[in-house]
């Protein structure tokens, strides 16, 4: 659920409850939930570049990924994630060899790149996507045409209109090889944990993992889920696109039949999100609909 919508709901609920004379505490009861810690270490274990291979978890999810600190891509709404938009934004090359298929040229944990990206927008301002006119961005960029009528709800995630061009900044981003402590990769916690909370929404995540197969595994399907939109590649081929504003669901989409070849296979993913939760998960399926648990290991190089 979109953050602004949550805020609206919270205000509405609070208003109703106060009106009913309820006594609501604004502070959460620390005893009610065992762990409210959302720090980086709760989600990820950083590993070395030459860490020993691991297997998928018992349900087949791949938990080892090398993830680049997120690229700023301010979007005040997730409604812009049409096919053409994510094709443009998630295949945009921000640095050399960003999409290399050469296993030997993959970045190692701790290495950094310097990119130029849009500066984050101040909170409370409408953050505009750059979808094609009339196709993605709600209501048009700052234009009055189709603007919400007085008293109408704004689209989820819309703040106040902005009219200025984005400011571009230089950003130094570092790769991190991690093992996720969850079946999914909590990208939002990757972002907040490595930025002291400065990066949270309006981001693009790039990640890869290496699948080491003992032999060719034909007729495999990559099953992915992401919040929000994503594109997935195997050995350089784009095999799955999850367009539109989505919540992460295991096996939300599956690729056509592919072959994981004997040796190293590079799986790459790019995820984009505006406001709200961001995460992803991935596993492989056989053609018969069962998950693949054996015959491969996972490394970061």
């Amino acid at each position: 659920m979109n953050r602004n919508f949550k805020l609206i709901l919270a205000v509405v609920i609070a208003t109703v409850l106060v009106g009913c004379g309820s006594d609501i505490s604004s502070k959460p009861d620390p005893q009610r939930i065992a762990n409210r810690d959302v720090s980086y270490d709760q989600y990820f274990t950083e590993i070395k570049a030459d860490a020993a291979p691991v297997k998928p978890d018992e349900k087949g999810f791949v938990r080892r990924w090398t993830i680049l600190e997120p690229i700023n891509k301010p979007n005040g709404s997730n409604t812009v994630f049409t096919d053409s938009y994510i094709q443009a934004e998630l295949t945009k090359e921000y640095f050399n060899n960003q999409f290399t298929s050469n296993i030997n040229a993959l970045p190692k944990t701790g290495e950094s790149v310097i990119i130029e990206s849009e500066a984050p927008r101040p909170s409370g301002r409408r953050l505009i996507g750059s979808a094609p006119a009339g196709q993605g961005a709600p209501q048009g960029q700052g234009a009055p045409q189709g603007a919400p009528q007085a008293g109408a709800m704004p689209p989820m995630g819309m703040g106040t209109p902005a009219t200025d061009e984005p400011t571009m900044i230089k950003d130094t981003l570092t790769w991190h090889s991690v093992d996720s402590k969850l079946f999914n990769i909590k990208l939002i916690r990757f972002a907040t944990g490595l930025s002291d909370g400065n990066k949270r929404y309006g981001l693009i995540f790039n990640a890869f993992t290496v699948i080491n197969c003992e032999e060719d595994i034909p007729n495999v399907r990559l099953a992915g889920g992401s919040n929000a939109a994503s594109i997935w590649w195997v050995n350089g081929e784009q095999v799955l696109t999850l367009q539109a504003d989505r919540r992460m669901v295991a096996d939300n989409g599956m690729s056509k039949r592919i072959t994981l070849k004997k040796g190293k296979n590079l799986v790459r993913v790019a995820v984009i999100n505006g406001p709200g939760m961001s995460d992803m998960c991935m596993r492989f399926y056989k053609e018969d609909g069962t998950t693949i648990l054996t015959n491969y290991t996972i490394t970061n190089m």
Binding site: Q135, A152, L242, A244, M254, S255, K256
Partner: protein
Amino acid sequence: MNMKKIFQMGFAALVSVSLSGTVMAQIGSPFIHDPATIQECDGKYYTWGTGGSPLVSSDGWVWSGEGGARIQVGAAPDMMKIGDRYLCAHSSTGGGLGGGHAGTIRTMWNKTLDPNSPDYEWTEQIQVAESLNDEDCDAIDAGLFMDPNTGRLWVTYGTYFGFIRVVELDPVTGDRAAGAVDINVAIDCEATTMIYRNGWYYLLGTHGTCCDGVNSTYNIVVGRSKSPTGPFIDNVGRDMIEGGAKMVLGARDGYTGAGHFGRYIIDEGVEKMSFHWEADYYQGGRSTLGILPIVWRNDWPEAGYNVKPGVYEIESERRGYALEIATEYVRLQGGRGMFGGAQTQAPTVVPFQKLEDVIGNWPKGNIDVRLIDYQFRPNQKWELVALDEGTLGTPYYKIVIAGTNRALAATADKELTTVPQFTGAPEQLWSIDQLTDGTYRIMPKAVPGTNDKVCLISIGDSNVSLGKFDFNDVNCKWNFRQY
């Protein structure tokens, strides 16, 4: 070409067009009364009606009397394949309602149903049951049943004059089993037969008025028992020997008088019932062969539905998402109402997105398909058009984006796409079978480069492919929605 020939061709074309919209009865020349349970032999389907007149079909959808041989039987034969032979049970009528009731049930065998085969030869007939001229039974309308639990063979028989009876036969000889005794199991029925499923033996029969054309009220009914010898009880606890029964199929618009049930299991979860319509309004009120899906609800059989031609959402049973062509999402402008508060203006209708609003930006070549939330957008609306060929009990359909000729097609790598123009190629023809749970299976007639039989499957929530059908796999199931 003479004028008569031209007229005949024109008439045939008109008939073909007029029939292409119907999916209730078979097409061609499917004229029959009291059809035997359909049998497949060497790639063709066969059935016979009262008097032994045959119907034959190469695909199960288009039927004609050509290619079969009349068999020397009286009333209402039934047929069953046992091992590599076909057993026919038939009857001689006792004279009807006002006549005598000295009926007989006879059996005979053949190695093939193809009259052109050198093996085609019926064995000598064996009389296995009979009724006297005046007793509470009229031994006609035989129905064969092999118990899958025991391998024992049974025949039910009888008509409105008295009892329906069941007696055991020898599955090797076709004669009465040694020491077999006829057992009364129902009254007020004709055209009975038995089937088995999920621990229940079902006695199917026909109630209502026969042989009165468009005014017939013939209807197929059922009761069930834990034993092939009854008692067969209906859904409100009445014994069929007291006249109880639950209806399976009566009339549907344009078709009256369903009778003479036969079951054909294509695959697990894919079952058909054959029967006749007493009167097919679209065929001058003649009696025609009907084949419909069997749907099982609460362990009771019902006649299902072939998908009517029309415009539908094609919904995955897995997640409930809708099949769409993967075109750019186009947001609708306006139409965002208030969540609450006073309404200052009268509501207006939000215009639906129309095909002409978006089709100009669609790619011109092939477009992939996928699954996503249904928003009744033009790229999510599929028109099904029934064609004049098909599979057992269902026509092939072309499936196109409504308002276009862009057609769903199977690809050589067992995936899916849409092609800009429907050409009638086999990979663009789809059989749609309703399954026993009410959902549907969607299968291409052919996949280029392979003989694999595959169906449309959900892969994940958001994607589709072609894969082997498994009734127990929700990914293989679809629904057709109209709103």
